[in-house]
């Protein structure tokens, strides 16, 4: 399989300036990051505030270009301005605040905005709108005003808007940070569904540990470096190391870890309620 994302020593530096605009120093947001994401994977990126996650996301969308190193998205070099347009079509982005991403006053027009902008013929726009809205379960809301939707529904509309561009990869940058539990469940299950049924590569950035347990791979960032990489089970087996990076583990994993410290004979890296229940029932 091909790599949809290929970062080689990707580095992002920026100047810190004082009030007069004089350069005070250089900060490094991404420091020689190597990252390969195979097409069709669901990967998650964890990291504390300021660790470089969002900077990485912006590079994947060519909103930023490398200071050093190279980044290929869908085989295209992001530092070449001629590729900008194609890259944004290959890799769509969904941000934290649903209210900042919705442009039209009717759901279906909002979803059609992207394809219309790139000159897709009208008939095809409507086909894409229908497909995208159905894929996120929002088709029945097509003629509603986005203002009337819940946070989770708005984020699903934002995802449909990205899907209408027929991207090969979606980057979700803390898409659930502002949502209630129901909204969080909706958005994560839509992302999984798109990955599973449409083969879209998903890159999920989040602070909720529970949301990443079904990912193919998890990467942990710290000070512009990828400091941990592995399957969710490998990552969440290292409770103390994660805490050093200001991260946490899912609540069930934390409970399993505490029980193990207390002498209960169970495995490391338990991720779900069912796994822990099975392990504990086995001990009775």
């Amino acid at each position: 399989m091909n790599n949809i994302i290929e970062a080689i020593k990707l580095t992002h530096e920026y100047f810190r300036r004082d009030e007069e605009g004089n350069v005070e120093g250089i900060s490094v947001a991404l420091d020689h990051v190597d990252l390969d994401v195979r097409e069709g994977q669901f990967i998650s990126i964890l990291g504390h505030n300021g660790s470089g996650k969002s900077t990485l996301a912006k590079h994947i969308n060519a909103l930023l270009v490398p200071s050093e190193g190279t980044l290929y998205v869908d085989g295209k070099l992001t530092s070449d301005p001629a590729n900008e347009f194609n890259i944004r079509q290959s890799a769509g982005m969904v941000f934290q605040n649903p209210d900042n991403q919705i442009v039209a006053s009717v759901v279906e027009e909002d979803v059609g905005f992207g394809p219309e902008n790139i000159g897709v013929p009208t008939d095809e726009i409507w086909e894409r709108v229908e497909r995208s809205l159905k894929s996120v379960g929002m088709w029945e809301y097509r003629d509603k005003s986005p203002n009337r939707l819940s946070g989770g529904q708005k984020q699903r509309v934002a995802i449909a808007g990205v899907m209408a561009m027929e991207p090969r990869c979606i980057v979700l940058d803390e898409p659930t940070a502002m949502l209630d539990p129901q909204g969080r469940r909706e958005v994560i299950s839509v992302a999984r569904e798109l990955n599973r049924t449409k083969g879209v590569t998903v890159i999920l950035i989040t602070h909720y540990m529970e949301e990443v347990v079904d990912s193919d791979y998890v990467y942990v960032m710290d000070h512009g470096h990828i400091v941990m990489r592995g399957t969710p089970r490998q990552i969440f087996s290292e409770v103390e190391k994660l805490r050093e990076y200001r991260m946490d583990v899912p609540q069930i994993t934390e409970l399993a870890y505490e029980l193990k410290l207390a002498g209960v004979d169970i495995d490391d890296g338990i991720l779900t309620e069912d796994e822990l229940a099975d392990a504990l029932i086995g001990l009775v």
Partner: protein, 284 residues
């Protein structure tokens, strides 16, 4: 000394076709020194409710009494009410505005009519309480990291020494460590000063851990008002309202159904750990 709501209703756009009932006959008593968690899905009415508590919104029907006085009575000093019932809004860092952190925190006490010396002392005290590093006191609030901005903004409200502190999702967008730090400092301030805290949150795990009383709002009405353990026992009804229970609660119910003798009312990791150890006959 308390905050009492008597049959409070609030309608947006009353007597128009856009009329929406956001609060529907709410009666509630909040006692001094309580730590209350307030949960409800997006649009359930919880933000509308808290904006009534310091008089930012005026009820369409009903009365609100603060320390026995009707806050809607003629001549009632609502300006002073707002300093006694302090509110930390969502993303409070958007409200930072002064030239440096210290001046920003001083603004509230100065506005309360305190002289410069007293306001300065209050600012020191509040910044120390939130664990804000003193080398950044002179820095522009806009140059801080996300977590530091949040601390500075909370310090600005604490500096007014409100008897009631209302926080609307104070940890949204923070990394797990930052989330724990902010909630721990709110709890420490609560324990030290005996203030009343109302924490609005979308994290069931957080309200279970910190609050001693949990209020659930749905459709502008209070659906549950009890200890977290008793409220989370209704987890199926909570799910219907777009909420959930902490993950450990689901685990304990599943263990209990499978014949293990655990207390299903535990809602935190440490309580769940204790009851499982007991069921497995392991001594702490």
């Amino acid at each position: 000394m308390s905050l009492i709501l008597e049959d409070v209703s609030y309608k947006y756009n009353p007597n128009t076709t856009y009329e929406v009932t956001a609060l529907d006959h709410i009666s509630l008593q909040i006692n001094d020194g309580e730590f209350i968690g307030l949960i409800g899905h997006t649009g359930s009415g919880k933000s509308t409710l808290i904006q009534h508590l310091n008089g930012l919104l005026q009820a369409t029907e009903g009365r609100i009494l603060y320390n026995g006085e009707d806050i809607y009575a003629q001549g009632y000093d609502r300006q002073s009410l707002r300093t006694q019932v302090g509110m930390v809004f969502q993303y409070p860092e958007h409200q930072l505005f002064e030239v440096n952190v210290f001046e920003d925190v001083k603004f509230g006490p100065k506005n309360q009519g305190l002289d410069d010396k007293e306001a300065t002392l209050r600012a020191y005290e509040a910044l120390r309480a939130v664990g804000f590093p003193d080398e950044f006191y002179d820095q522009s609030p806009f140059e801080l990291s996300g977590g530091q901005k949040r601390r500075a903004a909370i310090a600005g409200v604490l500096a007014m020494k409100p008897a009631v502190l209302i926080l609307d999702e104070p940890t949204a967008g923070l990394d797990p460590k930052g989330r724990d730090e902010i909630l721990d400092l709110i709890l420490a301030t609560h324990e030290r000063t005996g203030n009343t805290v109302i924490l609005v949150s979308h994290s069931m795990e957080d309200v279970a851990k910190y609050a001693s009383r949990l209020i659930v709002i749905d459709g502008g009405r209070i659906r549950f008002d009890d200890t977290p353990a008793r409220v989370f026992a209704h987890y199926r009804e909570l799910e219907e309202m777009g909420l959930s229970a902490p993950r450990v609660t689901y685990l304990l119910h599943s263990l209990s159904e499978r014949g293990m003798d655990v207390d299903v009312n535990a809602t935190t990791v440490s309580d769940a750990c204790d009851t499982i150890k007991k069921a497995l006959s392991i001594r702490s």
